[in-house]
């Protein structure tokens, strides 16, 4: 087991594309760490650079204190699980799991025992003689995990571990993966573009955009206090409402679309008259059909109502722009009707020039 330190890690591709731009990250020993970002943000390149499949242009990779920046992948003592699992189609499950041991010249009998033991731990005991093609997607994933576990690496690297599973299986595999990592306590870095997956699995998350780390933190920190508008709009199953506003004199309120709204926890750091972005998650807005007595409600016309099962997502068009509100399933809301959204003041986030205030 080992911690992973990345310092100033840069990767340039021929042709002038900079995939990684000075990445500094520390993954603690035994931590379950997510690299999260949209397609093309460099998260997979980063993982492959840690694995040694890509060579860094600048900066350093340390695993367990050793500088491995120029070490070939096979001598970094990491195991990687690929997005397509990369199970060898011509080998049985047992041979697949034992392959890392075969490379290390472990005697055949010991390999067989180890493969059988690892397979049993992951509930694959009955499938040892099968070929990967005869297994379901979830079983294939567990074979890939077993193969990674069999060589007892100091770190696991997972590339989009759940993306090849269908939606129902994905939830099951997510819980399984989290429990497995808890039990093994091996430093694990995984890549995902799915913010829900990152929030659910990881101990800590790094959000990447265009080859740079935009924020690192625990899932709670990232969800509650996104450090910039990019993270704010990327995290959350429904994107945060980000509305242009002006701070009122005294700093207690922000005027958004002509309506003064409470400035929330950041009020002490504001100066009157400055332009800010008013951020509030759809879950932290209360919807009603009438303005209500207290004021401080964003008015609008209901344009779309999306049923999400136990909740509904209501889209309002008003002077402030488009506002989305998550409302309980039994709240009456009809397209064309008037609606008012009241923010929960302790959940208001303000952004000055894209960065979180306060």
């Amino acid at each position: 087991m080992a911690a992973i330190h990345l310092s100033g890690l840069t990767k340039d591709y021929p042709g002038g594309v900079r995939a990684l731009d000075g990445i500094d990250l520390t993954v603690a020993d035994g931590e379950f760490f997510a690299l999260l970002g949209p397609s093309g943000c460099g998260k997979t390149t980063l993982l492959r650079t840690v694995a040694g499949l890509e060579e860094a242009t600048g900066g350093a990779v340390r695993i367990g204190g050793d500088d491995v920046t120029r070490t070939p992948p096979g001598r970094r003592d990491v195991a990687m699980v690929f997005q397509d699992y990369a199970l060898f189609p011509h080998m049985t499950v047992a041979d697949n799991i034992a392959y890392p041991l075969r490379i290390r010249k472990v005697p055949a009998a010991r390999r067989r025992d180890k493969a059988a033991e690892t397979a049993r731990e992951l509930g694959l005991g009955d499938h040892l003689a099968r070929r990967p093609g005869q297994l379901s997607g979830g079983q294939q994933q567990r074979v890939a995990l077993a193969r990674a576990m069999a060589c007892h690496p100091s770190a696991f690297l997972f590339d989009e571990p759940l993306s090849n599973l269908d939606a129902r299986l994905r939830l099951e595999a997510r819980t399984f993966l989290k429990r497995l990592q808890r039990d093994l306590r091996v430093t694990t870095v995984f890549v995902t573009h799915d913010q829900a997956e990152a929030l659910a699995l990881a101990d800590r998350i790094a959000v990447l955009e265009a080859g740079r780390v935009r924020q690192t933190g625990t899932p709670t920190e990232i969800f509650r206090r996104p450090a910039n508008t990019f993270v704010a709009s990327f995290i959350g199953s429904t994107p945060m409402n980000l509305l242009p506003g002006t701070v009122e004199r005294g700093g207690g309120h922000v005027t958004v679309g002509g309506v003064p709204l409470p400035a929330g926890p950041a009020r002490a750091a504001l100066t009157g008259g400055e332009e800010v972005v008013y951020g509030i998650r759809p879950e932290y807005l209360t919807f009603s059909g009438t303005p209500g007595p207290g004021g401080g409600a964003l008015p609008g016309t209901v344009t779309v109502v999306e049923n999400m099962g136990s909740t509904q997502l209501v889209t309002l068009e008003g002077p402030a722009g488009t506002v989305q509100v998550v409302v309980p399933e039994d709240t009456p809301a009809e397209p064309g009707g008037a609606g008012y959204a009241v923010p929960r003041s302790d959940r208001v986030l303000l952004y000055r020039e894209g960065q979180l205030v306060g």
């Binding site: 499949l53 992948p73 096979g74 990491v78 690929f82 990369a86 011509h90 392959y99 490379i103 290390r104």
Partner: protein
């Protein structure tokens, strides 16, 4: 069915039968003539005998030529499969400027290398390299002619092998040759089998190159030796030719059946998972 339709149906089947007979007669001759006491150039029901085979087995020259054919075919097959696998893997994994142009140019030129057009330069080249009357020379020339097409077909198989297989093995510490042996070769095995069979069949039937480069009759393959089967009277020895032809075609047919049942022939890559 109207009379007009009936006539059309009859005509259609009659013409199909003629076409079929055209292709079937030579094969029928090959099946019957070896067992005939007095084989003719026409197909006839044989007056059954196995004497022709006994004569053939006594013919030292004929048997040696089959052994020579086997040597040339196996040698060329081995060279072509090994080199084309390495080349196809490298070409599909290493970015090389002008790679595709190179491949197409080779493919175009390869039909010339073993063709009649290059007869004289080939002979000169073999002469300068001291490869006249050497079976190694024949193997090298034939391999050179077959390699481009073999690489072209195999590259499709290596291209279709996901890189993640190799990368996965690399992370576990496998060396490039281990990756080739453990992962790439087994995954593209249907392609290798196809190339091997194709190369062997090409060499087995090749007349020109061994005829050109080999001098001594005891090194000549079956395709060349068959050309010398005449009776003392200068007539083609039909009994010997037909019997020898049957024996000559059997190994290739058996090889096709064996490989086809084990791997199936495929001329394109793609992983069945």
């Amino acid at each position: 069915m109207t009379p007009g339709q009936a006539v059309r149906t009859v005509l259609r089947y009659a013409s199909l039968s003629l076409l079929l007979a055209f292709f079937a007669l030579p094969l029928l001759w090959l099946a019957f003539a070896p067992f005939d006491r007095a084989p003719q150039i026409a197909v006839s029901l044989p007056e059954f005998t196995l004497d022709n085979f006994r004569d053939l087995l006594d013919n030292e020259n004929a048997l040696r030529s089959l052994r020579n054919s086997l040597l040339l075919a196996a040698g060329t097959g081995a060279v072509v499969v090994t080199l084309s696998a390495l080349a196809a893997y490298a070409l599909s994994r290493v970015r090389l400027p002008g790679r595709d142009a190179l491949l197409y140019a080779l493919l175009l030129l390869s039909s010339i290398v073993t063709g009649t057009a290059a007869m004289v330069p080939l002979f000169n080249l073999a002469y300068e390299l001291d490869l006249i009357d050497s079976q190694l020379g024949v193997i090298l020339v034939l391999s050179g002619g077959l390699l481009p097409s073999a690489i072209f077909i195999l590259k499709d198989f290596t291209d279709a092998t996901p890189r993640s297989y190799e990368e996965s093995a690399r992370v576990f510490g496998a060396s490039p040759l281990q990756i080739m042996r453990h992962i790439v070769v087994p995954v593209i095995r249907p392609g290798l089998a196809t190339i091997g069979v194709w190369a062997v069949a090409q060499v087995w039937g090749n007349f020109l190159i061994p005829f050109l480069l080999l001098r001594s009759p005891d090194k000549s393959p079956a395709a060349v030796v068959m050309y010398t089967f005449y009776t003392e009277g200068g007539q083609p020895d039909l009994a010997l030719i037909s019997t020898f032809s049957l024996l000559y075609s059997l190994p290739v047919v058996l090889m096709f059946l064996l490989v086809s049942s084990r791997y199936g022939f495929r001329f394109h890559g793609g992983i069945k998972r």
